[in-house]
Each structure stands twice: as C-alpha cells, then as structure tokens.
C-alpha cells in the first residue's frame, strides 16, 4: 500500500490495529454475559502538495477506497507543518504479558465470583456489578520516512460497583484496577479496598457550608489533575488557552509539587514503546518542585509550535481508550505526582475540620481550561478532630486547581497509589476549598 502511495504523495503513514477483547459482566452479583470482540481497523494519513489528508476504514481488503478518501480530504487539508516519524531506537517497555493472553474465560468468571462473595460476606444486601475484560492487540505502523514497527500488547481490567439502596439514600461505591499484566491486578485487594470505603460510609454526616481543607485520596486527585491535563498540553499552550502559557521555567505551583509524564512505566495501561505516530515514548518531569518544565506534544503541534514531539500523540481521549478512528492528538501517558512525607493517617489526624474526597460527579463539566472545578461529592467524608465523622451527601466542592496547587497545598501523603489506570498519586491535602452542603 505504501509503495502504491509513494508515487502519488510526499509522505504517508499507515496505522493498523487488530484486537481481540473478552469482556465478562456480572449484574446483581450474578454472571450475565460474556462477549468476544474482534476488531480490525486501518487509518491513513498522507501529505500531498504539502497538505494533510486523513481517512479510516474497517475494511482491510479494500485499500483503494481508503487511499481515495485520504487523497480527497488532502485537497482541502491544511498545510502539514511536520513530517511523519522516521526510524528511531525505541525504549524497552514491557507491554505484553502471556498470562493475559492465556487467561481463560472460566478463570475470569471465577475471579468475578470471588469478588462478589467477598463483598457479600461484608454485606449481603448490596447490589453488586462486576466487569472483567482481557484484550490482546496487535498494532503496526509504517511511514514513508522509514519508520516501521509492530507491537503486541495485552490488557486486563477489573471494575466493581456496589450499591446500597435505602429510602432517601442511594450509595454507589466504585473501585477498579487495570494493567497490561495479570499479576498487577489483584482482585482480592480491589474487593478489600471497596469494603474499606463502604465501612467509612456507614454513618452520615453533614458538613457546614464554608471554606475548609480537603484531603483528596489518590483517586480523588483526578479533580485537581484533570485541568492540568488540558493546561500542560502543548496544543492549549499554542492556542493560548492554557493558563500556563509563557510560564515555562517559572514556578507556577507549590514547591512540593512534582509531576512526571512517563510512557515507559512497565505494564501500565498507557505504556508503549511508541506513540500512535511512531515516535518513541519518554519519561519527563512536567512540573519539577513547582516549576513548569515541559509541555506535551504530538508531531503536528510540535511542528506549528516549533517544539519537539514528546511521544504523546495518541488515538485516545484524555479519559477514554484508544480508537483507531481518531486522528492522533496530545494525550498524557502515565502521570505520577511525587509523594510527601506523611502517611494518610498522619494527614488525617492533623485535620481539625475538613473533607476527604474520593469520588465525584460531574468531572470536567465546568470551565476546566481555566482550572475551575465544581463537583458533587459522590463518595466523601466529613472529618472533625482528626477522625472520620461520616459520609457526606448533597455536597459540592469548588475551587481553581491552578490557584489551589500553587497557594494552598499543605500536605502530600507518603504512599502513591494507582487510580483509573492512568495516574499515580499520593493523598493530597489542600486548604481553602469551597464546600457547600445542605
């Protein structure tokens, strides 16, 4: 296909993916369905007369239509400010676990049953839903610039939801784990962690309406990190919509705050040797002790912004998985917030009055470009005199992520934990968050 194209265009990139995924689903604590998803897709980018064209298809037998569609779109495309990836030496990144590939349906069903049994032993009244999924994918990318690569990856994920329903109070608690390695998803531990959260939820408490410190759990830290995922993108900086524009090399966050983007973490769901444009992934500090060090780039944005691709051109969304249909865009790989010195218990015991926030509703709904968040606390707790007083309801937290991480960061926990499969964070204690409750 590339040979055919070479005569017609200045540059081309063919991206192909074949995957086989097996999701299993439990509803009301019982097995409901198993599914086998086989996908194949091809995406073609071309540069003709200096202009960029794009098309995708699921029909791998018909390269001609794909080429025609891409050529048609290149007639009107913008000038391409870059060239496709050249041959490069990749970092060693572990993405494939044969144990995931070999994992049998029966074993997945058993894991689901064990999770259900464990949670039922804590409380048989709970409505439990479990999803397990394993996937094997084969990706290939070839460019006219000489890049040629093939990668096999595996993926395993477990998610659990428990619902407790009473008149006037519905509680939903969620937990998950995801990795490219089977070993790193411990289903027992996921069940235990869910039960711990449920125990904290046994009593209700009503916080006052005022500003107070909030202790974000690693999972809750997504509230603070989501605006940064937009603001640290080279695209937002180039467009001028990022508050961090012009702040490279400046201290824009508290001195304790260090954030690393790393596409090479072994077996992390977002790890790979190359991004979806064939550029090697890398590990870089984005914020180092409060100082802005690096923005993230794909080839196209790097081209217009006179920067270099950081290997962050992916066909996924900020919070969603990869889809070959999307043109590549700037997406963070695994983020790690550096830990501090205190344990979760120490941070908690030092809290005279405040909230713990673990899960929220309405993520990304407000003006996240400017860093504003305003969320309903789905799972959170009121703390008084260093002790968890009870779960909060009908409660909103609001603030500005940039402001708070610059001026109100008062504590970082010593233990870093995975959340949502794409970042690792310690508990983060922030003062001065607006809390409104009824």
């Amino acid at each position: 296909m590339l040979e055919k194209l070479k005569r017609k265009v200045e540059g081309a990139e063919v991206y192909e993916i074949r995957s086989r995924e097996t999701p299993v689903r439990f509803r009301a604590g019982e097995l409901e369905s198993a599914k086998s998803v086989e996908r194949a897709g091809r995406a073609l980018r071309i540069i003709k007369n200096g202009r960029l064209g794009y098309s995708t298809t699921t029909d791998l037998e018909d390269p001609q239509s794909l080429i025609e569609n891409a050529l048609a779109s290149a007639e009107f495309g913008d000038p391409a400010p870059f060239r496709f990836a050249t041959k490069a030496k990749p970092p060693e990144v572990r993405c494939f676990d044969p144990a995931v590939e070999r994992l049998e349906l029966e074993r997945m069903i058993r894991m689901g049953e064990e999770v259900v049994d464990k949670i039922r032993a804590y409380n048989p009244e709970l409505h439990i839903e479990v999803g397990l999924s394993r996937a094997v994918e084969e990706l290939s990318l070839v460019t006219t610039e000489g890049q040629e690569l093939r990668e096999r990856g595996t993926f395993f994920a477990l998610s659990v939801e428990a619902q407790r329903t009473e008149e006037g109070d519905i509680l939903i608690v969620y937990d998950e784990a995801a990795s490219r390695s089977l070993k790193e998803v411990d289903h027992d531990q996921v069940a235990d962690s869910l039960i711990t959260t449920l125990r904290w939820c046994e009593r209700l408490a009503r916080p006052p309406t005022k500003e107070m410190p909030v202790l974000f759990t690693p999972r809750g830290a997504i509230v603070l990190l989501l605006p940064l995922m937009v603001g640290l993108s080279g695209k937002s900086v180039f467009l001028g919509t990022s508050p961090l524009k012009g702040k490279l090399g400046e201290r824009a966050f508290a001195r304790d705050f260090t954030l690393v983007d790393d596409g090479t973490v072994p077996f992390a769901p977002r790890s790979s040797r190359f991004d979806d444009e064939g550029v090697p992934t890398s590990k870089r500090a984005l914020i180092d002790r409060g100082e802005v060090r690096q923005f993230l780039y794909d080839l196209k944005t790097a081209g217009v912004a006179k920067a270099e691709s950081t290997g962050n051109g992916f066909k996924s969304g900020l919070l969603s998985g990869r889809d070959f249909k999307n043109p590549p865009g700037i997406v963070p790989t695994t983020w790690t917030v550096s830990p501090g010195g205190e344990s979760f218990e120490q941070l908690l015991s030092g809290l005279k009055e405040g909230l713990i926030v673990d899960q929220v509703l309405g993520l990304g709904q407000g003006n996240i470009t400017s860093g504003e968040f305003s969320n309903n606390v789905a799972v959170g707790f009121y703390v008084r005199d260093g002790e968890i007083f009870g779960r909060v309801k009908n409660t909103m937290i609001a603030g500005n992520s940039y402001e708070l991480l610059r001026e109100r960061l008062i504590g970082l926990g010593s233990e870093v934990k995975w959340a949502y499969g794409f970042f690792r964070a310690p508990p983060i204690l922030i003062d001065g968050v607006g809390v409104v409750s009824r």
């Binding site: 239509s65 048609a72 009107f76 409505h127 509703l361 504003e372 305003s374 789905a378 409104v436």
Partner: protein, 460 residues
C-alpha cells in the same frame, strides 16, 4: 447490505441457541474540524461491522466483528459462549414477546449531506470559525462539523428483519475568550437526523457565541449556596434527562428490589402540573429512528403524569422481568455494543406559567441557561449551566459564571413549583453516556422551569 439477506436468514436458521439476533451496520461519515485558524481534521471514512447475540438457557453470548463473512461460524461462537455462561448463570435472562416485524425504512433528506462536497463543507465551517475569531478578545475556537449515514440491519430468529437508514448531522461552535489569567468559553451545539440544511445560515449564532465568551470575562463567579433557580428550556431538558430520565431506565431496577420499591408506579414525584414524556419517534430529530436495536418499534409513554410515576423505559429483557411491555428503548451506540436501556427524547411537557409569572416574587435567585454537561448517579445529580444571570427583586440582573447545580432528584422534583408554557425540544452535537457507550444521540426538552432550594457549588 440488503444483499446479505439470504446469508443472514440462513445463518439464523442454523443457530442452536434459544434466541439469536444479528445487527449489521455500514457507515459513511465525514468530519471538518477547525481549531483557531487551523484545520485540525478533514476526513471522510467508512466503517462496517456487526454484532450477534445468542441466548442459551438464560445466559448471553455476544460476538462482535468487522468482517461480515462466515456469519454461521460467528453464530456458533456466540452459541458456545452463551452455553458456557449458562452453566454459571444465576437468574436466567428472558425476553418479553414482541410481534415479528419486516420493514424497510428509507429517509428523504431535504439536502442530502452525502451529495455535498467536502470543499463546500469546509468552506461553510471555515466561515463560522472566522466569524468567531474576528471578535476581539477571542483567542481560540473549536468548530466541528460531523455527518454520518448508517445503513442499519437487524434480524432475529423470531422472524424480524428490518433495514433502516439512519442519518445524523452535528455542528459544534465554541469560542474561548481571554484576558490575562481569565479564560472563558461559550458554545452552541446542533444535532439532528436531518440534511445539510441544518448547519446552514448560522452566522448569527456563531457571532453570538463569540460575544458570549467575551461577556463571560466580566461575569461574576457565582457564590455557592441555596437558591431559587429558573432553568431555561435547554438546561431544564438536560435536568430531566440526567436527574430523572436515567432513574427510569429499567435496567437499573429490574434486578434490584430496593430500587424497585423506590420506583413503584403510583408514587408521587412532583406537583400536579408535572408531566414527563418519553416520546416514541419524532422523525428528523437526533437519535430518533423508528426501531430500537432489538427491532422493537418505539412507543410514546408517560414517565410522570400529573406528578405521579407511570412506568419505566424497557428493553425486552427488563420488560419480561417486570411484567411490562417493551417500550422500544433498547439502544446501542454502534455494532460494537449490545443494546441497553436508553432514552431518545425525554421532555417535561408544557405547563401554564409565563416567564414573567415565574420571576415575579424571586427576591434573590439565579436564572441558569444552556447546559455545559451533566452527570447522574441515580438519586444524586449534577449539571452545569453554560452561563447564568442573577435574579434580584423579580428582575434579571448581572451575568454569572461557573454555575453548577446539584441535588437529590426525589427532593428536587418536589421542589419544582412552576412550569412554563414555552416547551422547546433540543438536539445537540453531544450525546448521552452510559455503561461505556457514548455518545448516543438523544433529544431532550422542557419549558422554563422554576425550582426552589437548589444547591449551587462555588466559593462559600
């Protein structure tokens, strides 16, 4: 795709399962996407795929594929998977009976977007984009056009065989204005099952959008607290979809006895004036097609009538379990997914109050307009207004920003005390998300609605 008819019927006849269905889709789509002055993407693509569901002894086996060859082999795989599940299944899945349907639905588009050249699409989108960029203080834009034409085919082992054409067209306009560290965004969004005419002649909307982003720069951030709130038609539509609609999707309820007790038909949910309708099929509106993804024709149902809960939205499976009739609400975003219970057009029916009557008597409140987004977790919901105004002594006052509303749906529906007479149904470029399936095209709507004691997040 209809050429596959005999292959599909033969494959279904070969199935060893208790029930088998095949759903195939072939899609043609284009996209034009500008960000600031850059054409981020211009694309014309195709996609083909299918899904087979087999039910064996109450257990489901599902197979998804891109190649439409060897359907018999795929049915056999679905059967074997279902068989493995059935050995472990607890409560058996059962489908409510429906009449087999044979039908062919073709659409007539006023201005078929498949006949409009990419050049013409680009020219129009670029014009809107330029208009927004030309407004002072607007630093960035996002202008996205998408169209999609799907051939959809559904057949099952009960004799149903339906071919339907499903068009979809959307336009999203967003402007970002900036003044130092103050960054504000405004948007307009359109989406329908119509032709290219939907996205033409929107120059004024583009200008309004850009000007609103600039106006938001000097809007006051809202002060958190409890307020009397008037929702405009768009926001009230999102509210009824998010807060109440999802709760009435029977798959949250059918295997959950406690939820069922909370959602008994006959339960009082609001004032007498409150009527909530899930309308069957509004041709031309987004996500509105004649059949759902189980081949069931859509029905018009009342969720709430005169303040009282009437019933829920169903798939064949939830209907069987709860002894109800299927309502045609089993929907999937594409061939990659099995159908789950979803809305299509959910709205609060019109009441009797004028806007003037609603605002009169509000001493200190908020007029919240247009929806940025929303999320629900059964009884708890949250949704954000794109912009808002203060209400002071019965009059609309200064512009506000960062208005996010939250609450408990049972309490909040009871706090609706006035319903306007100006019903409007909205289609948008976004969509609804549930169970990993997003975005699904839906419409929602309402007249202006007044609610007492709404929690608004913000600095205290």
């Amino acid at each position: 795709m209809k050429e596959l008819q005999s292959a599909i019927r033969a494959a279904l006849a070969s199935s060893r399962a208790d029930y088998t269905e095949i759903r195939l889709e072939r899609e043609w789509r284009t996209q034009v996407f500008f960000q600031r002055e850059n054409l981020e993407n211009i694309e014309s693509s195709t996609e083909v795929g299918g899904i087979i569901r087999a039910l064996v002894d109450g257990g489901w086996g599902i197979v998804v594929f891109n190649s439409l060859d060897e359907l018999e082999k795929k049915i056999e795989e679905a059967y074997r998977t279902a068989k493995a599940v059935s050995a472990k299944v607890g409560e058996k899945s059962v489908l409510a009976p429906t009449e087999p349907v044979e039908d062919e639905v073709r659409v007539q588009l006023k201005k078929d977007f498949r006949q409009v050249s990419l050049a013409k699409k680009k020219e129009l989108i670029e014009r809107y984009n330029r208009l927004m960029l030309s407004v002072p203080k607007v630093v960035a834009t996002a202008t996205r056009y998408t169209d999609s034409f799907k051939e959809w085919l559904f057949a099952n082992s009960e004799g149903t065989f339906i071919f339907e054409e499903r068009p979809d067209i959307t336009l999203f306009l967003m402007a970002t204005a900036r003044e130092d560290g103050n960054i504000q965004q405004a948007f307009e969004s359109f989406g329908e099952a119509q032709g290219f005419e939907l996205v033409e002649g929107l120059e004024q909307k583009a200008e309004e959008t850009a000007k609103r982003a600039v106006a938001l720069l000097s809007a006051k951030p809202v002060k958190g607290g409890q307020y009397t709130v008037i929702l405009d038609q768009e926001l009230a539509g999102v509210f009824i979809h998010e807060a109440f609609g999802h709760l009435c999707e029977a798959d949250f309820t059918y295997k959950n006895e406690r939820m069922r007790e909370l959602l008994q038909p006959g339960r009082e949910f609001g004032v007498k004036e409150l009527n909530v309708i899930e309308d069957g099929y509004l041709p031309g509106r987004r996500g509105n097609y004649r059949y759902d993804d189980e081949g069931v024709p859509r029905r018009r149902i009342y969720l709430i009538k005169s303040g009282v809960l009437q019933g829920l939205m169903h798939s064949r499976e939830t209907a069987a379990k709860l002894g109800a009739l299927p309502t045609g609400n089993a929907r999937a975003i594409s061939y990659r997914f099995e159908p789950i219970v979803r809305m299509r057009n959910t709205y609060i029916d019109k009441g009797s109050h004028t806007f003037a009557e609603m605002i009169r008597g509000i001493d200190h409140g908020i007029y919240a307009k247009s929806a940025f987004g929303g999320q629900t977790e059964l009884e708890q919901f949250t949704f954000s207004a794109a912009y808002a105004y203060e209400i002071e002594h019965g009059e609309v006052g200064e512009m506000l920003r960062d208005v996010v509303l939250t609450g408990n749906v049972f309490a909040t529906l009871k706090n609706i005390d006035m319903i306007g007479d100006d019903l409007k149904i909205n289609g948008s470029s976004g969509g609804c998300g549930k169970g990993g399936q997003a975005p699904l095209g839906v419409t929602d709507g309402a007249p202006h609605v007044r609610i007492q004691n709404v929690i608004i997040g913000g600095r205290a």
